[in-house]
Symmetry: C2
Subunit: 303 residues, 2 copies
DNA sequence: TACCACTATAAGCTGTGCTTATAATATGAG
DNA sequence: CTCATATTATAAGCACAGCTTATAGTGGTA
């Protein structure tokens, strides 16, 4: 009896779920298997134990007294197991985290604010990697990737968490000095100066903005400057070199100080969505959650 | 991490065993699987948890600190599970038991002694069934079968326990009165009277005894009486009707009281081996163990 | 009665969990 | 040092456990 039941403890795991929900289909959803599988597992378990655990009442499966006893026991046992596994696999809060994101984000947002995080959590060391691509988290030993774009979710491996944490519009921006020397009132006025674009802009490209604003003749524009990342583009623009397209969160401070302006205040048709990508089963999950929480709050308070 | 580990708790069961033994091959023996399976399971578990649980030291697998922590946790959790399952599946000592055995045993041994058992354990009800065959325990709702013969083990389903509990010689016996009226000194003298045989004697038949004793002419013997069970045979014999072959444990009391005698004290070549047949996973195991223990002691004390 | 939201069951498929065979490893003895 | 031994590790193969889909069955409600 006991030997038979302990031969397949996984049935007990499914049992705990079905018993808690008093519903096979809810258990199925939680366990990510089909209702039929749950039903068959429960039948198997009842056969193994030669007792009845559930009583069907309409749409739900009420527990027999024996079922209730077993629920209590399984919950206690799995709690012990969970805590035990936690203890050996989950690292303490103190330790290191490796963060990967775009060069623009790391340079313009993260590095300037990192001292705030470190002041709050001096026991957490942050290592920052910038990359324009979606690298493999496991291969590169990355704990958290902060990614931007419209297809992050689709391009993220299903074994990883992909958490949306906000979005920003993209605007054409130039230096205040340039805006004083040239009268920029309409989208077509931008064609009077240099336009700084990224070599890989994705969907946040100038042609899309010009199309969206119904601007003619941009195809004949000659003054293009191509750079590798938004921080480089902004560096050029801050020094009076035309316009670039930038997500608002990246330039909040420069807009406030008046270094950068948006004379043509029409956003790009594509917004920049932001995502955290990490493994929820990471041993560093406790540390990760702290960083993610901090970053989310920081982003919200500066937006 | 945790989710991954809890997806296959059976690995943790094997772990507890391997960790306790600090040996994969010992764990394999206990779990009745191959050493290679254990090795692969432990590798899988270490991968799932992304930690090292064992350190190989020659012929044994020492535990890492993490392995020790997990051993402690798994032992605790499985203890809780075991107790929980026990509580819902194992019946109390009080209750009923259904015992099946031959008619001879039930009539001649068990029924006369049952009051002794009931005096000791008034909360246990015994239901007795007699049958000459090996019935299916589960089908007939038999909790314990007491069986005799040379091939009980081979004829018992492997899912059941088959416990040998002793053996007895078989002798030709007759009434004291008959022994006084006819001089029985040698095996051939038995041919002067009726011989009571069973319709299904198995290997405990008269021809085997006569061959064993080198007795000539038994094939021409005309005074045969055929009955269905040993208790019927003994009933006839007690009333002066010739000889029958009987296992000693069945006639102990009648030998002591002088009702039956063994004038030719040569045992049958085949002894009667006794077995308990039951399901060790039975919910009534607690009760069964009590009965089995009592019967074993009772049999030993009267033999 | 019909409808609905669930559970139960049957049949089929595939990948998990074993097996066997053999390689690799650690240890001790000579 | 070599060799033997008793273990664990690994690879390849197989079959059946554990799922799936499809559909039947059930209980409750209007």
């Amino acid at each position: 009896m006991i030997k038979r039941a302990l031969k397949n403890i996984n049935l007990l795991h499914s049992f705990e779920c079905a018993a808690r929900h008093q519903s096979y289909s809810k258990a199925a959803a939680e366990l990510c298997i089909s209702q039929a599988a749950v039903s068959q597992q429960m039948r198997q378990l009842e056969e193994n134990l030669t007792i009845q655990l559930f009583l069907r009442k309409g749409k739900s499966m009420l527990l027999t007294q024996q079922g209730k006893t077993l629920l209590s026991g399984t919950q206690q046992a799995f709690k012990v197991l969970e805590e035990s596994i936690n203890k050996i696999t989950v690292e303490e809060i103190a330790g290191s985290l490796t963060i990967s994101s775009t060069q623009a984000f790391t340079t313009l947002w993260l590095m300037p604010k990192l001292s705030k995080f470190s002041a709050l959590y001096p026991d957490i060391n942050i290592r920052v990697m910038s990359s324009p691509q979606f690298e493999d988290l496991k291969e590169q030993h990355i704990d958290l990737a902060i990614r931007f774009g419209p297809r992050v979710k689709e391009n993220t491996d299903t074994s990883l968490n992909c958490e949306y944490f906000g979005e920003d519009p993209v605007y054409p921006v130039c230096s205040a000095a340039l805006a004083k020397s040239i009268n920029f009132k309409a989208p077509k006025d931008l064609l009077k100066t240099w336009l700084v674009s990224l070599d890989n802009p994705g969907c946040y490209d100038w042609p899309s903005w010009f199309e969206y604003t119904n601007t003619q003749g941009y195809q004949n524009h000659q003054q293009w400057t191509e750079v590798h990342s938004t921080d480089m583009a902004l560096n050029a623009v801050l020094n009076g070199h035309g316009f670039t397209l930038a997500a608002r969160y990246l330039i909040i401070e420069q807009l406030k100080s008046g270094q950068l302006v948006m004379p043509v205040n029409i956003p790009h048709p594509n917004v920049v969505k932001r995502y955290f990508v990490y493994d929820e089963n990471s041993a560093k999950i406790a540390r990760l959650n702290i960083f993610i929480q901090w970053l989310t709050q920081e982003m919200n308070s500066t937006n």
